[in-house]
Amino acid sequence: MTRTVAVLPGVGPGFADAGLLRSHIEPRLPDWIDARWWTSVEELHALAPEAEIGWFDLHYKPPQIEAVRLASGLKWLNSLFAGLDFLDLEEMARRGIQLTHGSGLTAAQVSEYVLLGMLAFAKDYSAVLRAQDRHDWLQAAPGIRDIAGSKVLLLGFGEIGRLVARQLTAMGAEVVPVRRKAGEGALAASEWRARLGEFDWVVLTVPGTAETERMIGAAELAAMKRGAVLVNFARGNVIDQDALADAVEQGRIAGAVLDVAEPEPLPPGHRLWSVPGILITMHLGGRPTPASMKRAADRFLVNCDRYRRGEPLQPTFDARLGY
């Protein structure tokens, strides 16, 4: 029997717990797959040309993009990441490569990070922690913002957005999502800009597409409530970062929580680091955890069976929608 070569992540530089992925997959891998495990970028690039099935995830993207280029026999590329807009999707379509992505795998942990970022901003936990590190008992609370009673505009109502809405609602916030059509407490895509001034928090979990690029610029920031906070767990390019830095510096809004930025990693000299009121959480929201690794492994194995039988793989990435 000719076996199908799959080039998969072993213990390696991709993420802290890549070994977990291998330990979940290896014992359950079907016979028809010949697995080759990469543990370094060099190994990944050496093995990529052999791959019919590939799983090349790296936190730092250029070597991952290079691996796709090198994998001339690739028919199916799998990924942990939900947003794959960093890949040359047109080229992959031309090469006939199927693409499955990590949509929903990390929704729970991203939603937790959204709330962590909001609460940390609300209580100015950076200042609390600095006091802790000085062994200094605070005389007054540095941040006293309450979630209860606040109004939150939620741009992006996919799996992450729904979880965020549930958690915020449990904390007593009023959550207004933006959907394609208005109704049931939601605003339509055509309506939210006019209502920006009503909200204490504006939370972004939209996919990265042409439509969402720079959706928050100087005009939107100017329309926000003074004292409002912008929270971005979507893509760095969804926000005009310079306009944001200006708005926070000039006190037109209170601040921002940015899990994503442009570029990533944000260089040490970048202006965003030094604007008081901007909290950067370094795209850690969706970093794989043991639980999401397990889900990713399970999903990959189900797709292996589908691949073998010639059935459609799920979920496939739609470049036009961005998810």
Binding site: E112, Y113, L129, Q132, D146, S292
Partner: protein
């Protein structure tokens, strides 16, 4: 005007209370401890806070002629309730007024531990794009034990459940039929089941050092502790030991023994500890306004000779 009931309150509450007082009462206000101690014996009704200006609860002990003493806080362990019992005084507190704010702070503590967030904030201060911290895990699917399931404990439980956490609350007298609330006699045997232990119980003789070496040893390895209640509930030396041995995963402590915690206390530098300095109850929401509302309702009851609301049960200590 001997027939007027004298109300003694902190000066900063005057502007909220004075315009709304009914007939038949007279307001006297104090600023600072000296004035409070001088005015207290004149009070038929006195409003004193536990920590305001340091030890304002001492003034309540001087209110020897008072019939009703009020406080906006929840914890009453520093008040001389023995004197109140002796004098037959009624004591009302602020139970429930700050539950949302405190519960948010507790959830922030749990999230900070689960996602190893303190090193991320420090990395930000260094302008460094941090990598994921080892040991970061999701909250969904984890299990939390909440010691003290009153107004604050429940608010914490409701929030954690929205994150997909399985929550067990501990009450002195659990409600029948709710398997998620257990009694004071059964939680110790189950300590190994939980990823998080959140303390929201009152500081009483009964709860003193309810978590000590034996309890920490019985917890799951890597368990995180969050205390938004009272430092007295924890045997702090045992906690430091359990953290330093690596058995416990970390602790977020808004309450310590003593307060303020001296700068050289070993707790400050125990692994994965964040000491937050008794700020959990500070919110922007109008908890003072709500405390005033509650006081006015109780004042109405008082003047009509009706029972007051939110009366402290001296036998329980909360």
């Amino acid at each position: 005007m001997a027939d007027k009931a004298v109300i003694v309150i902190p000066e900063h509450l005057r502007h909220m209370l004075e315009p709304r007082l009914p007939e038949g009462v007279e307001l006297r206000t104090f600023t600072g401890m000296e004035e409070a101690l001088a005015l207290a014996p004149e009070a038929e009704i006195g409003w004193f806070e536990q920590f305001e200006g340091g030890v304002m609860f001492k003034a309540s002990a001087a209110a020897e002629n008072a019939k009703w003493i009020n406080t906006a806080g929840v914890g009453i362990d520093a008040f001389r309730t023995d004197l109140m019992i002796e004098r037959g005084q009624i004591f009302t507190n602020g139970v429930g007024l700050r539950s949302d704010t405190i519960a948010d702070f507790a959830v922030l503590g749990v999230l900070t531990l689960s996602r190893r967030f303190a090193p991320v904030l420090r990395a930000h201060d260094r302008r460094e794009w941090a990598r994921a911290e080892k040991g970061s895990r999701q909250l969904a699917g984890s299990r939390a034990l909440i010691l003290g399931y009153g107004s604050i404990g429940r608010a914490i439980g409701d929030r954690l459940r929205a994150f997909g956490v399985e929550v067990i609350g501990v009450r002195r007298s659990p409600d029948d039929g709710d398997p998620s609330v257990i009694g004071a006699e059964s939680w110790r045997a189950r300590l190994s089941e939980f990823d998080w232990v959140v303390i929201a119980a009152p500081g009483t003789a009964e709860t003193k050092h309810m978590l000590g070496a034996a309890e920490f040893a019985a917890m799951k390895s890597g368990c995180g502790i969050v205390n938004i209640a009272r430092g007295s509930l924890i045997d702090q030396a045992a906690l430091v030991e359990a953290l330093e041995s690596g058995h416990l995963g970390g602790a977020v402590l808004d309450a310590t023994t003593p307060e303020p915690l001296p700068a050289d206390d070993p707790l400050w530098s125990a692994p994965n500890v964040v000491v937050t300095g008794h700020i959990a109850g500070h919110g922007q929401s109008d908890s003072t306004e709500r405390a005033v509302e509650r006081f006015l309702i109780n004042l109405d009851h008082y003047l009509k000779g009706e029972p007051l609301e939110h009366v402290v049960d001296f036998s329980r200590g909360y």
